[in-house]
Subunit: 305 residues, 2 copies
């Protein structure tokens, strides 16, 4: 799967993914009004508004980008109706040829992690029939429970040609609270990084494994050290744009050949029309604003590569 | 919310929760056959089988117990249909007066954690209308991302009178890989434990806070140390029974007054009919086997308190 992502990145010259993390407040009023008129101020109404919003953004950007990263929490908050739209969004993006990274940060132990891996990457057997649930291409995974929490995901990566990105160093302000603490002279996130390389060793495709790492753009020096430490690991890099990470900051997450990282932007793309620099598009043309923001982001990142 | 849990524990004399973590293979064949006949070998068929299984177990045990802990991964693997049954199970148990601990191990940053908190404990605003999604009483939370990943959950605990259990020391074999590593002379899980006490300080109800901790029964010495370290924190204790933890092992997770911990058993209860000691019930009477296993578990734990 990592090779498919790399090929799409090379074809689009765009090492990015668009974070489909729709807050209801990002959805322009004319869409909300229409959905609420049809379905009421209900979870179904909210989900319908988000679906319309997503679809227009995907329609306006899919030809420019290799991948999207829907954040499942933003759908889960609308319950079953929200999760139906998550599933519909995943399917719609895959039909457009996009690689879908489900940002679910799941992680549990043994058979429970296996169930999450089945839910998001693999399949379940019902009687003699193989059924698939969310079926994204990648999913993000939380490592706090150790190897027996992560390995069930790795097994599915191998059997189904899928991938994962394991949280190593996250982009948020308090990520250092535990992740940066020194253990035997090196921070916890480096211990996790070493495990990620180990977990990925059996699922190599070309120079990279199907076990990637989440490395926040907001901590560039740590990104540089991790890039050296994890030569076979692709990075999923959050924190660009709205969270404060610049193109210069994330340069270090890439290898010399311009590969090795895929940079996410969520708010900066999907809510671009609310930013001063794109407000000329107006809420009615929010998707065109997103397209322009994608073009600008690609140029900005390629500038430093 | 923690006081409601404690009152129910005192009323039932049963500091336990039943883990509703149904693997499809636990569901007796006669139920699977009926569901597959009606809905086919589909995700819907699997979900229907699990719903029937859950309902019979709840009907057979609800009067003996204070709480249940459905593991959402086991539903998520069946996609939307599975999650509908998760929701239906939560609602059914709440109607029976049970406290529902959603075992979701969610955790992300800022607005994303807020969305998870809204999904599982709180509400979302759709237009002017307040809507609720899964609406469990407690949810489990992963602390790897630090305070700004956990605080949005704590805020909802306070505003909605709900609770969380934060992973501190998990019950699985490789939990020590990161959790036991020494930082400034004490293991990571103790650093997390100290944060849990801190996060809980603003949401006290009586002697305990609404921010609890997950502490595995499989590491009794660590449980004892954590019990002393976290005087205001209720423990959710997995690992009893099928995972190898004995009543003696988990004694240390309780305080002198017999409070301070709620012990989970999943497989040992819901799949009791498959164990030699309960096989006399047979698959047709699996729920009666579960009832007997609950009675035996309560006696076993009360024996050491």
């Amino acid at each position: 799967m990592i090779q498919q992502l790399i090929e799409k990145i090379q074809k689009t010259h765009a090492p990015i993914c668009v974070g489909l993390d729709p807050m209801l407040s990002y959805v322009p009023e004319h869409i909300r009004r229409r959905s609420f008129a049809e379905f009421g101020e209900t979870l179904e109404g909210a989900a319908d508004a988000i679906w319309t919003f997503n679809r227009e953004i995907v329609d306006a950007t899919w030809d420019l980008i290799p991948s999207v990263k829907p954040q499942i929490a933003m759908y889960e908050q609308f319950g079953i109706e929200g999760l139906k739209v998550y599933e519909k969004t995943v399917r719609y993006c895959q039909e457009k040829g996009l690689i879908v990274i489900g940002d679910a940060k799941r992680g549990d132990i043994g058979s429970t992690s296996a169930a999450y891996a089945a839910a998001h990457l693999g399949s379940v057997k019902v009687g003699d029939t193989v059924c698939r649930a969310f079926d994204t291409d990648f999913v993000t995974v939380n490592p706090y429970l150790g190897s027996d929490g992560v390995k069930p995901f790795v097994d599915v990566c191998r059997s189904e040609d899928k991938g994962i990105f394991v949280l190593v160093k996250t982009s948020n302000p308090s990520s250092g609270e535990f992740q940066d603490r020194l253990i035997d002279g090196k921070p916890l996130y480096e211990h996790v990084a070493d495990k990620v390389e180990e977990w990925g060793a059996d699922t190599m495709e070309g120079g990279y494994s199907n076990v990637g790492a989440v490395v926040g753009a907001t901590y560039p020096q740590m990104g540089a050290a991790l890039r050296r430490r994890m030569p076979h690991t692709y990075f999923l890099v959050p924190g660009y744009g709205a969270q404060g990470g610049t193109a210069e900051d994330l340069r270090a997450c890439f290898n010399e050949d311009g590969l090795g990282a895929v940079v996410n932007s969520s708010r900066g793309i999907i809510a671009a029309y609310r930013k001063e620099s794109y407000e000329k598009f107006g809420p009615e043309h929010f998707a065109e604003a997103s397209r322009q923001a994608v073009i600008d982001m690609i140029a900005d990142i390629n500038r430093v590569l």
